[in-house]
């Protein structure tokens, strides 16, 4: 069968992208951009580059798809995904650049909501991530995905997995150390707790062991991939796998929209929300969706959530072994022998190892100095990016000198002395001490401003890390719009009776308990 459709769709998508680029680049959109926020509008640099590159690719392949000859084979199969892939990308572009900013403008015109002090779009998390997913759900359930785009929609999971692997480049050893310990404790408790609870509830409600086993893996570990991995060891039937996936989807999609609203209402920090989403939401894709919905223009929340999610996936082998032993005990002679080691080897999600590989590569310092923290690194020499014009002026040094008597702590005092002597911060430890001093508001506003400037002068954003952030943002935006196109009413109906009830009870307990634990134990920053 030849999969490539002789449709003008891809060519037209390419031309629309080029038109967006041209109108933005030529300044024809300046009036509209002014309406969307003027100087506050953040996407102008994206508008004048991204649609040009992708527009050229889409238009060129569109011409070839329309007028070229196509033979069946792998090349035809894989290249036929381009039209759908570009369709998703175009929707992501329109939502990110125009629809979401327009909704924000309308929301701000309506004023803040009651005592919350927040606009309705902030409160409901109506940003490009949520709107992109909703757009996908509307397209598939109301209009149906166009025939020529069907193959490309199946690329969304690839986009999400590529994004997760690339995310590994953004962590520094210090961040991973801080987050890793926290995530192991929380995930260990909640994964083992929810697996145990599903198995217990399953026994109480007398569902088959195979159903309880596969549902416990799905509810406890990481959704669909855990379900698939656990299915052979508990000899789950296709219909039980379908029930489990339906339950996870139903619960996960609800959480993806609800979690950010609760997070906003409770005023959670990025770290707190990331920890909660990574623990309380079942499926990897929906964890990413909720994290980006909470913080659409940055990836700090996503980074925290993904560390929790990846910790969860790393526990998968333990759960598979547990379920294998549990199933044989429950079923006795009736259980078929399964090679547990082979199941783990065959089903373990390889992309998690890709993430670890990227982190290892990043730790060597090839993308940013190894001591970077959240993409910023310390450097006080010209080779490291320090500019001599940033050296403190004599009058600035005089202001700090006049106030140095107010500083009590010895480490801060010593750091400020070295700053006065050299005109710049001399080490990471000094930088940390000075940042602490600024946050403590010990000195006057003017002196604080100078200290902040000295701190900024020695902290540099790694260019490569910046580019990685852009790629990751777009890969997730692409993946999540595509994910929306896979959420059909039919797939949710698969949840069935008992599995949906058990899943609902365990999911709710997990979401509420993890929220309580996060609010009580997780600090606002790391």
């Amino acid at each position: 069968m030849v999969y490539t459709k002789k449709s003008p769709a891809l060519l037209m998508i390419g031309l629309i992208m080029l038109a967006i680029w041209y109108t933005a680049d030529a300044g024809m959109l300046s009036g509209y951009i002014e309406h969307l926020g003027g100087k506050k509008y953040k996407y102008l640099s994206e508008l004048t580059t991204i649609p040009l590159y992708f527009g050229i690719v889409a238009a060129a392949f569109g011409l070839w798809q329309l007028f070229g000859s196509h033979k069946q084979g792998s090349f035809d199969y894989y290249s036929s995904t381009l039209a759908g892939g570009m369709f998703i990308l175009l929707i992501a572009m329109l939502v990110r650049w125009f629809v979401a900013p327009e909704v924000a403008v309308v929301s701000m015109m309506m004023g803040k909501v009651g005592d919350t002090g927040k606009y309705i779009h902030k409160l409901l998390g109506l940003n490009y991530v949520v709107m992109g997913i909703v757009m996908g759900i509307i397209i598939v359930n109301v209009f149906k995905v166009p025939h020529w785009a069907e193959n490309g929609v199946r690329l969304s999971r690839l986009g999400l997995k590529t994004g997760v692997i690339l995310l590994g480049t953004l962590y520094s050893a210090a961040e991973l150390k801080n987050l890793g310990g926290l995530s192991i404790v929380m995930i260990g408790f909640f994964v083992l707790g929810s697996v145990g609870m599903v198995l217990w509830l399953g026994a109480q409600r007398k569902i088959p062991n195979s159903m309880g086993g596969v549902l416990s893996a799905g509810m406890g570990v990481c959704g669909v991939s855990a379900t698939v991995a656990a299915a052979p060891v508990v000899q789950a039937k296709s219909v039980e796998i379908a029930y489990t996936i339906g339950t996870i989807l139903l619960w996960g999609v609800g959480c993806m929209f609800l979690f950010p609203v609760v997070g906003n209402l409770l005023g959670m920090s990025y770290v707190q929300f990331g920890a909660w989403a990574g623990t309380g939401i079942l499926n990897s894709a929906q964890v990413a969706g909720a994290a980006l919905a909470f913080q659409p223009d940055g990836i700090e929340t996503l980074k925290v959530a993904e560390i929790f999610n990846i910790t969860r996936v790393l526990i998968l082998p333990i759960i598979v072994i547990w379920l294998a032993v549990w199933y044989v005990k429950r079923e006795g002679e009736g259980a078929e022998k399964v090679n547990v080691g082979k199941v783990i080897f065959d089903k373990f999600p390889l992309f998690v190892l890709g993430f670890i590989l990227m982190f290892a590569l990043s730790s060597t310092g090839i993308f940013a100095p190894a001591n970077h923290y959240k993409g910023k690194y310390f450097g006080n020499t010209a080779e490291q990016g320090f500019k001599d014009k940033k050296l403190l002026k004599a009058e600035q040094i005089a202001v700090i000198q006049a106030e140095s008597g107010k500083i009590q702590r010895e480490d801060r005092k010593a750091a400020v002395d070295r700053l006065i002597q050299n005109g710049k911060i001399m080490s990471i430890a000094d930088d940390d001490a000075i940042r602490g001093l600024v946050n403590a508001k010990v000195v006057s506003k003017d002196a604080n401003k100078i200290l902040k400037g000295a701190h900024k002068a020695v902290r540099h954003t790694a260019k490569k890390v910046k580019k990685f952030r852009q790629w990751i943002t777009w890969l997730f935006a692409f993946g999540l719009v595509g994910l929306g196109m896979q959420i059909t009413v039919g797939s949710m109906k698969q949840a069935g009776g008992q599995p949906a009830v058990i899943g609902g009870i365990v999911g709710l307990i997990k979401a509420v308990l993890s929220l309580v634990v996060v609010m009580m134990l997780v600090a606002e920053t790391i």
């Binding site: 069946q72 690839l158 690339l166 992309f351 890709g354 990685f468």
Partner: protein
């Protein structure tokens, strides 16, 4: 095996025949992007 089955790879969720293949492709893409960023910036 009919011609249609031969090229009908993957599932409703993925164009790839297995999760392992999809993971491998994600790894290849991410390494390619990382390499491009490494040599360009």
């Amino acid at each position: 095996m009919s011609e249609e089955q031969k090229f009908d790879k993957g599932s409703a969720l993925s164009i790839f025949g297995s999760d392992r293949k999809e993971d491998l492709m994600a790894l290849v893409f991410s390494l390619a992007i990382a390499f491009a960023i490494y040599i360009t910036y």
